[in-house]
Symmetry: C2
Subunit: 471 residues, 2 copies
């Protein structure tokens, strides 16, 4: 109950104080304030800076205690050694949520760790909860609460949408947020945990599992402090919504890196990844995979099986996809005679249609794609459809966007995901955007497309297992 | 000698005939002609189309024999069954180079294979050589010879530069060309081999090894018909210039795919990859790697060893890089006491400088990067420097581009490659472009940056081995 109240203060505060606001646009304390007052958040915002009258039109107070209002959320940009006192000031003012952006804590050694313990003790004694330190805080698309110190000119914010993202790394978060924004994949809530001295992934998962705005959860984790809690939270969540996890600490160097970064030594990677997988998480190996899986899972229906049909107007990338199909636990769909007959009858003579992959060749038009995709959507031998486009090829007309819009609704009815690949420059990206408007994901390499298709297949299996009660 | 003459006709023809030119802008035969007359090629261009007067201002002839000029190069867009006759017409006109764009040959089965044999026989009897069929032909940046059927509005062409690319897949080629164009990595020559009925990678390598415009060669191969020749060509070339190879056919499905695509069954992947590696090729596993390696090898000096120093203003991606460092045969440089002292003395207090990775933190400015990079460039404990940027972070000013320009020239003097990582959206990409103007490659994920650093280390070892005469 208490965590829930604090999470409400963290995601939906009526009033926010920025402690350590700065007049210098190059400073973090300036941009945090700017993100709160200029990017759409409608709550009351206060700034604490003993030397300034006002910053960005926000009146500054010399100390937290002088703010003539109660505050729900405090964002701290202060020296590590000053943080415990600042936190006490905030909870005295009623703050239930505290975000500590500053670094200089556990990642610096024992002194910093002690400071973190002190902060958590103070906060907890007031039923307040802490995010960070050493983090970039929170972005909530529904009320535009935004504590990022990255200016919008430099870092896109995604619109509302199905993806929630929890991360120990601010840098990865920025990439995820921008990639999501660029492809129109909306984000419900984003939390950067940094050193994660208090509030954990497990608690956030429990919350996001019930959050109606969130359909898919992605996480970047450098260490697992509360294994049992996290596993049980994943288990409960993954029954309802996919949980994709990128875990580091595969090697000794990585574990050292994690320590240097967020101040914790990761445990044994394989054991940890295995346990997360068993609990129902979809494990990503790279940041691309973390994003690619989340996108596929947010947009596409789950397949009934692993039989893949390819359709293409340029075969090279399909060849490399075939090359890795079995590594990803997928199979080339063995088309039935009736499907092959229809492909042969309905497609033009220049195509190589009597097989899977269906090669429409460089002469293919959007109408050829439409014909082939319609037939494959109706085939009982196919679970997943993977169109590989060469948008550069002159014969392929731009009608392909509306063809894919139609395919999108039919694929949902049929329960057959469609996962595409297209590689190239500006024109290709513009066509990818048009196709992705229909929520059909298009990936930039065959490997990425394949792995995304795998994530759909894998989550369908995981959900079945969790719902059946097997563990 | 004969191959050399034919290659001259293929890359530097004075006259080109497009056989099968079309009036329909949606057709391949239209765009091939357009690429030859509108994108800068200055030679004489003729079109063969029995039904048209002229296309794109080029007078059309009813047949090849009616062209009142000798031709060096012929580009054929004709039905497979008409190809042998067309080839005969071309060689009768003096053509030494023949590019067959059309498909419908070996990839369709025995009939098509027979047609290919017939074509090669005709061509060879006139000392002409054939590229294709089932390909997109040639792009030569130095004379803008361009037979691609992808309109420039849809597919960027790179400027002159160090990379040559040979590919059995047209689709991969387009991606490579566009990615090269977008990052300012110039391309010397590009050849799409398709079914590769005649001219082979081995022959092209021999030519490109001597080509002064070419510094790095990348290849996409679906099968190896002439193993010995290819290996010896790689050995001779790799002594002078890096040869990067993406080979498919890892699995049975991939081998089937290669057959369906270019009509050949790939052999045993591991054995083939091992032999290529032994001959001196740098083996890429994905199209990203093929491109990423080529870019690093084209732009950066070779390192003396495998000791990596990281500098960053956002540690997450560095942690995942550390996690994979040993998988790539790289080591975290163990900084000497003097270097650590200098880092500690010269960097501001907010940085975590007394170690490798050097964490400049989210407060880092371009001047902090300059200080750290200068010190690392001078450290004897460091072979490869990997800056990981968070361009979104407000404190990082745009002076970073000129800092990196200076670093670029110093890194070349010091013989220490610099390989960067930066992830994000439009602003990040704009900063990446600025950094890459100094020929310092910036990759979009830690894994990509690491693998590129590996390729530099690997090629330095390979070249040493080849030059020492060891095999």
């Amino acid at each position: 109950m208490k965590a829930k109240e604090a999470l409400k203060a963290l995601f939906y505060p009526d009033s926010v104080a920025v402690v350590g606001a700065s007049r210098n646009p190059r400073k973090i304390g300036y941009q945090v304030l700017r993100s709160l007052v200029e990017y759409g958040y409608q709550g009351r915002v206060y700034a604490v800076n003993p030397a300034a009258e006002s910053i960005l039109g926000v009146r500054c107070y010399r100390s937290i205690s002088e703010i003539p209002d109660s505050i729900d959320l405090a964002v701290l940009i202060v020296k590590a050694e000053d943080a415990p006192k600042a936190v006490r000031g905030c909870v005295d003012k009623g703050a239930k949520g505290i975000i500590i952006v500053s670094g200089g804590f556990k990642e610096r050694g024992e002194e910093g760790e002690k400071l973190e313990r002190e902060i958590v003790q103070v906060a907890r004694s007031y039923n307040a909860r802490v995010i960070g330190p050493n983090c970039i805080g929170i972005y909530n698309s529904s009320n535009r609460l935004d504590t990022l110190f990255q200016a919008a000119e430099r870092c896109l914010r995604p619109d509302k949408g199905p993806l929630a993202f929890i991360s120990q790394s601010g840098t990865f978060s920025l990439a995820m947020l921008e990639w999501a924004a660029e492809c129109g994949l909306g984000v419900s809530k984003f939390v950067s945990l940094g050193n994660r001295c208090d509030l954990t992934e497990a608690e956030l998962l429990e919350y996001l599992a019930e959050d109606p705005d969130t359909q898919v959860i992605a996480m970047y984790i450098e260490s697992i402090p509360d294994g049992r809690k996290l596993l049980s939270a994943i288990r409960r969540t993954a029954e309802k919504k996919p949980v994709v996890v990128l875990l580091v600490g595969r090697t000794e160097e990585g574990a050292i890196g994690a320590k240097f970064h967020t101040g914790r030594l990761a445990g044994d990677y394989r054991r940890a990844a295995g346990a997360l997988r068993q609990a129902g998480a979809i494990i990503a190996d790279t940041i691309y995979q973390l994003f690619d899986y989340a996108k596929a899972l947010a947009w596409q229906p789950l397949p009934q099986g692993n039989r893949v049909a390819f359709v293409t107007n340029g075969a090279g990338p399909v060849v490399t996809a075939l090359d890795r199909l079995s590594e990803w636990g997928l199979r080339l769909a063995d088309l039935d005679a009736a499907t092959i007959q229809r492909l042969r009858d309905e497609l033009p003579a220049y195509t190589q249609a009597e097989q899977n992959p269906v090669d429409l060749t460089g002469s293919a038009t959007s109408s050829d794609f439409k014909t082939a995709l319609s037939i494959l959507l109706e085939s009982k031998a196919v679970d997943i459809i993977m169109p590989f486009f060469v948008f550069q090829d002159t014969p392929l007309d731009e009608g392909i966007a509306s063809v894919m819009a139609e395919v999108s609704s039919r694929s949902k009815e049929a329960g057959k995901p469609v996962v595409c690949c297209a590689m190239g420059g500006p024109y290709t990206r513009s066509m990818v955007s048009k196709v992705e408007e229909s929520r059909i994901p298009v990936y930039e390499s065959p490997e990425r497309a394949l792995s995304a298709a795998w994530s759909l297949y894998m989550y369908s299996a995981v959900r079945k297992r969790l719902r059946s009660g097997a563990t």
